[in-house]
Symmetry: C2
Subunit: 148 residues, 2 copies
């Protein structure tokens, strides 16, 4: 925040919460920060395979509440239908969140440059499209037909 000269009274920015199986979320955040620098409004949660679902839900809920501001929280999960994703899903409707399932690194990099002027659903839509457009086969890109 200080970099942009914004005072401490600025409204809380969008929260970005990664939840995934095992240590995957933490490792994705490590790579994101290696490439793009420290991200104070991002957090990663380890959903341990042995963790009881109710306990896991409490951990996720606490993190969402801590990050929640007027702009809401974007949640990134590894796999639609997986336990981490299902835990996030159980909060849809209760909290001001959007969940992007099937996260890849391009999505996370794009999330660091989102305009705060977009609504939360608009942010989620931008990231989904960017993530889809940035999965490609290298040989096709080199032949100029990688984008669809």
């Amino acid at each position: 925040m200080e970099k942009n000269g914004i005072s401490q009274a600025a409204p809380k920015p969008t929260g970005h919460l990664l939840i995934a199986h095992g240590a995957l979320a933490g490792e994705m955040l490590n790579v994101l920060e290696f490439i793009s620098g420290e991200r104070p409004n991002f957090r990663a949660l380890t959903i341990d395979h042995a963790l009881d679902v109710d306990k896991a839900r409490k951990i996720v809920e606490k993190a969402v509440d801590e990050m929640m501001g007027p702009a809401g929280v974007l949640i990134y999960t590894d796999l639609f239908g997986g336990a981490p994703s299902n835990i996030a899903l159980s909060m849809l409707g209760e909290k001001n969140i959007e969940i992007i399932a099937g996260v890849n690194l391009p999505i996370l990099l794009r999330s660091t440059t989102l305009s705060e002027d977009l609504s939360l659903p608009e942010k989620a839509g931008t990231l989904r499209n960017y993530g889809r457009d940035n999965i490609f086969i290298a040989s096709e890109v080199l032949m100029g037909k990688g984008k669809r």
Copy 2:
């Protein structure tokens, strides 16, 4: 292999090699194996941030050669344009590989059920499409408009 009653003389299956920044590839493979069981024809390489590019290329090349059989090797990278991806790109044309950039967990899960009857480019295309189709916004899926 033993599960399907295939003899040891069966041709080497497609190799699947994950390369990504830091420890990300290893963590993705951990989650894949947690969900889908042990994957003997998958490997993950840690491309350490401090590693010299020439040394990293040798590590990747050695792994590709060890996994190479008639069906070739599929390489998954975290980000097109990142160092791990560029190392793989430098081998296109030299070796029977296809590179899928922007990998997510759905791609890896789908890769475990690919028909060996497909060509290597067909396998890569199937995975790219599946990965794209499995990034979505949970709230839209629940409202029945998540697929495009």
